[in-house]
Amino acid sequence: MLIVALLRCTDLRAEVDPLTGAVSRDPRTASLSAADAAALEHALRIADTWGGRVLALTAGGPEADGPLREALALGAEVRRVPLHSSYIEELAVDERSLAKLVVSALGENRPDLVLCADRSADRGTGALPAFVAHELGVVQAPGLVALQVEGDQLVAERRLDFGRRERMRVPLPAVCSVEGAGVRLRRASLPASLAAANATIPLVDVALPASPVRVVQARPTRPRPRHLPAPTGTSRERLLALTGALLSHEPPTVVGPVGAAEAADALLDFLVRHGYLSEARTGWAVP
């Protein structure tokens, strides 16, 4: 029996520059989110009971190797599909091609069960499990808060509205995506950690299938804040400067009456002038 834990290893406290919106991620703190850790723990528990093997698989850059070594020390086999790891390049990978990628990385090994986090901590569309289930042609159980083996059955639980819970039997093969609840990842023993410390993580080199999504530009959705010098002068002067009282104003611009196209152009110009849109307006066209 093969259980695959699909993991995402990322910096859970990425820094976002408030001025430029640039995201910087620290490879040293790449780790599993609570949900990813729960997925791995479920995989290990189920494999313990049913005597299966666990394959921890991730698609990402070398920063994922740390968490993968931890998984190795816990007794899982590990594989990494090397992938661009810059934020912008990652954004450009949509879930469907990612799902195709991981399924092709599994090759001939058809898993009996795929476990993953319900949604990733940093991108979080939550669509990947569905696409993986589709690619494998198996059933999917999303949003699980508990997952247990009962005899030869897999019983899952998920939260519904009004505090209700739903319990269901999951027929295998299946893709189960779990929330970071109920279980905590076990710790690897010291000898196993020592053995895994310098292990090289095997790579599976499969090409990323072409994706219909193309990201042209990524930036904050807010207007760019301006760099304002710290205020000077008395509080009264500052109040005046802030409220603009006693100052002459630019009168409101009257553009009309004009046709719809010119009005739209005037609006767009206004938005560009105030930083809500970038100059390269063509960048927003759908390719």
């Binding site: 406290r13 620290d26 703190t29 905590r184 710790r187 008395t234 509080s235 009264r236």
Partner: protein, 106 residues
Amino acid sequence: MSEAIPLTPISSYRGIGFDDRMDTVEFRVAERAHIVVDSDICRSCTTKACVTACPANLFAPTSDGGILFNYEQCFECGTCYQVCNSEGALSWTYPDGGYGVVFRQG
């Protein structure tokens, strides 16, 4: 127009609030509390040294003279057990490996 009324600056408001200050630090919270305070012993403590000294401000005096302690946002610096007034009030250990504070700059 009337003369400007001079505004008195609020001198105690300086920089950022304490919660915002603590929000700048990453804490990976473990399930096990690595520091446990025995509030019964604290009730008879006269100095309450930990309350002002703890740089993370984690010791809150309670109305009955005891101490309410939260371990989650601790720097693991050791100040509290070093200044503690009463033997046995604090049991202090490091959090389990990998948990606790993570300094990005340090």
